[in-house]
């Protein structure tokens, strides 16, 4: 499993010194597939590397630098679009980590701009973004209605000139999910950083990241999410985090994330049987960058839908998507 090689190298960069060419090829392929190549490049900055490796990592650092710059620009444009609405614009995930200069942002891959705004401000936010040049990506009326009725975010929008996506969240998990984190409390406690931009409080940042990784997703990109969590944890006070997680109904998930982060990136932790299954899913990546352990991966895909909605609704949703030609990967 080359994902294991990847996490070993992130945990202990000096161990890369012992890699042969085949090891490097497997490591680089897994890091690219998990979108951790930028993070890896920063971790290996002060290690003696084979000649062929340093330009590859140099490129990865350059790319992550550009992504950070682009993310900050998008955040600035969104702030400009919402100016005058009297809405706190809260950055989530990658853009937030970069904007606040957090360790989790170093070398991080950043895709879309994710923001959180109060639910009752959504219609005004939607209008303001459209006026500033964003437009809908999903043409399909079923998808659009599905998002609006059941999801925790608007259907994704893309900027007509800059070709960059924005995801506007009004809460943390889909409305059909079993846990209902208190988005209002998160918004109330958000921390002002600069230019009308906010990020979540230290503890809420972790809770949010954990919610996405463990209570919602099928664990795609889970190694990167867990790296975020691993980097965010040292900033939090343990008791405050526990209390906050309990309030959001995610105490068990936050504890599990602690164990997994400790076991995979940290000094080690005692894992339950369920933790071990999650770890096996997270490490399902081979030396060519392909997903391995197909059955386990599929099981997690099914589970993610199971968690998101009640069974009958799930059946109807999957049938509709299947009829439209969608197939799980």
């Amino acid at each position: 499993m080359s994902a294991a090689l990847l996490v070993r190298t992130l945990r202990d960069p000096a161990s890369a010194g012992a890699l042969d060419a085949d090891g490097w090829n497997r490591l680089l392929a897994a890091a690219r597939a998990e979108r951790l190549i930028g993070t890896l490049a920063y971790r290996l900055e002060s290690i003696a590397l084979p000649d062929a490796v340093w330009p590859i990592l140099d490129d990865a650092r350059r790319d992550s630098g550009r992504e950070a710059q682009q993310a900050l620009w998008e955040a600035d444009r969104a702030a400009q679009a919402l100016r005058g609405l009297d809405v706190k614009l809260i950055l989530l995930k990658g853009a937030a980590y970069v904007a606040a200069g957090l360790r989790a942002g170093q070398g991080r891959f950043i895709g879309d701009l994710d923001i959180l705004v109060p639910r009752d401000a959504m219609p005004a936010v939607e209008r303001a973004l459209i006026a500033a040049g964003w437009e809908w990506v999903k043409e399909d009326p079923y998808d659009d209605a599905y998002y609006r009725q059941w999801m925790h975010e608007l259907p994704p929008m893309i900027h007509v000139e800059r070709d960059r996506m924005i995801d506007v969240h009004h809460t943390i998990l889909p409305l059909t999910a079993r846990q209902a984190p208190d988005a209002g409390a998160m918004i109330a406690d958000a921390v002002h950083i600069t230019d009308g931009l906010y990020i979540l409080s230290v503890e809420d940042r972790i809770v949010h990241s954990v919610a996405h990784m463990l209570a919602d997703g099928d664990m795609q990109g889970g190694l990167r999410n867990l790296w975020d969590i691993y980097c965010l944890l040292p900033d939090a006070d343990r008791a405050t985090l526990e209390a906050r997680a309990t309030r959001h109904g995610l105490a068990l998930h936050v504890r599990q994330a602690r164990r997994l982060a400790g076991a995979i990136y940290g000094a080690g932790a005692r894992l339950t049987l369920w933790d071990r299954l999650v770890r096996a899913r997270l490490l399902a990546r081979d030396g060519w960058g392909r997903e391995s352990r197909k059955l386990l991966v599929f099981a997690f895909f099914v589970r993610s839908h199971w968690l998101r909605m009640p069974p009958l609704m799930l059946a109807r949703h999957l049938f509709t998507k299947w009829r439209k030609g969608h197939r799980p990967q």
Binding site: W24, N25, L28, A29, A52, I56, R290
Partner: protein, 287 residues
Amino acid sequence: MRHAITLRIGPATFRIGSAWPQPIADLARLYTAYPDVRGAIADFTVRLQPTSLARRWVRPSIFITGDHGLADAAPMSLAHGLLAAEMGMNLQMALGWRRHLLLHASSVEKDGRVLVMTGESGSGKSTLAALLGERGWRFMGDEFALLDMDSGAILPFPRLVSLKNRAIDVVTQAVGEARMGPLLAATAKGDIRHMVPRTDAVARMGEGGMPALLLFPRFGHDAAVRLVGQGEIFMRLTQASTNYVALGEPAFTALTRFVANVPARAIDFPSGDDAIAMVDQLWEQLA
């Protein structure tokens, strides 16, 4: 992956894996004159994998991907496996290469100075580079010209030349069967056949040269030469580059210098022989 090969083309090393033996066997045969880099650390991984479990055996269908891929890339039949491998390498370069400014262009060199030709697919830039490569020029590449952003030099990327439709016969007559790959009939771009560059082009693939002339060729029209304004050249080159935006300011500076220093013309030509005569004449006048 079960079948694999490592290839170095110009400055880039590719590790190519395939679920089927044939594409790798084709590559091994056609790239035999290239440096032996078995066991090297690769810049990119390319994967030729089945589009689904069943499609490995039943009507085999190749999904081209790797370190960098496009989710909606069209699948290809196993009969076109060699083309899939070539497209896989191009895809990695187009989406992932950051060490030079990539221009979608062919290039040939004479006396240390480089002729760069850019245009849409079907403009004749590949055929022209292949033919010039047999007539006293050194072939440097038919897909990407790599512009060194510090020195302003053009570096070679001489992979197999991909020839389409009518160009196949013209070039086969010029170079002989021994240097030609299998005929890939009825691909999305018509019939395709690959040509192996001359051994001297391969041996000197680490050696760049300063650009001396830029041409915008267009096949299938009456012979004509036109001036092109610098603003238009700049715009066309940014559109011909897949990493111009990703590279940011250094790319802007390098491209500005290229446009300011390299004379350029658009040429229309009805046949390969006409084109070569026009190129020779412009080279005498301008380069």
